[in-house]
Symmetry: C2
Subunit: 204 residues, 2 copies
């Protein structure tokens, strides 16, 4: 059985987690990989109704996503999670929980909050800055960027195709999905991914 893994997106609201998770899902399904996307909003409906946005409730929500993702990943599925998941401690806790059973790939959607607030696709930043929404990550609630994520995508500067390609290349190089001949992301991109993974102690 092919080893499963968790592809754990993290990033501020509007930074592209949901968009990228759906794009990556499509690309992996084309390769015959089994995929489930656990999107933040969907999971809140199905697993965490009644929870709010205090640190405790956020941690509980993320632990639940991690629990379900782990069950899937250790059965050979690629579980893609797309929740803000602001705290490093809980992300690390999930990473440790799958250790040995499945892979864990942290993908950081990096985008300056000024750009996100200017774009404000859902109108949430405006409300948060006006104080109409409390506990909004990046405004009046903390966000801890990942320390050593396997992949960083700069969704303020690059298009989603490029971000998606980097993530696919990362899981390929980690041996979690089979490479597809001719599916080329450019030699520079490939070198950058390899360098990052080598720095993190992967790739021998």
């Amino acid at each position: 059985m092919k080893k499963g893994f968790i592809l754990w997106f993290t990033g501020l609201s509007g930074s592209g987690k949901s968009t990228l998770s759906k794009m990556v899902e499509e690309r992996l399904l084309e390769r015959g990989v089994k995929v489930e996307v656990l999107d933040g909003d969907e999971v809140r409906t199905n697993l965490s109704k009644g929870l709010g946005f205090s640190k405790e409730d956020r941690d509980t929500n993320i632990r639940r996503i991690g629990y379900v993702a782990k069950l899937l990943a250790r059965n050979g599925v690629c579980a893609i999670t797309a929740a803000i998941s602001p705290y490093q401690e809980i992300r690390d806790e999930v990473r440790r929980s799958v250790d040995g059973h499945a892979g864990f790939v942290e993908a950081y959607c990096e985008c300056p909050i000024e750009k996100l607030a200017a774009r404000d696709v859902k109108g949430l930043y405006k409300k948060a800055m006006a104080g109409e929404i409390k506990h909004f990550t990046g405004i009046d609630d903390p966000y801890e960027p990942p320390v050593d994520p396997e992949a960083i995508v700069h969704t303020g500067d690059e298009g989603p195709e490029q971000s998606c390609a980097r993530i696919i290349k990362t899981v390929e190089m980690l041996g979690l999905v089979p490479p597809v001949p001719g599916d080329d992301y450019g030699i520079d991109e490939e070198k950058a991914v390899a360098a990052r993974l080598r720095d993190l102690g992967y790739l021998g």
Copy 2:
């Protein structure tokens, strides 16, 4: 990919759901089937901390178990659930949610409440009858036995080996796990399982 399925145990507290789910898990693992057991107590810790035992909270808990079991089953896993799950409506809701994606096998652990109260392995019935535990299924909270379960095991009259064998035979006959030559449960047992499944409209 082999089709996954949910093996959904239901029955009163102490009726053998956890014991049988572990036995069935072992037997299926021996056959190379991927299995996850979602035990009632474990799931309450991981997915439903904070929920109580009102009808609404019970329904929420069961829906969460159903959601996770569905994700597993549609990826080729046998998801075994072992929660009391007292309400037919919610069990049917879960059954409908997996329709077409995976199999659903309801296994009813039938045992008269008098026997369970006399046995009282965890001492819970005594407390419930003394009013020290409220909302205890079968005492001051309802239990709705399944209308048309795929398998019924009579855990007050038969040993766990026999109950386990009947359940394995049931999932075999439904084509959900490969039969093992020489793994014989007796011709009468086999006929009884076939008759039940035929009555329910399976087996053409």
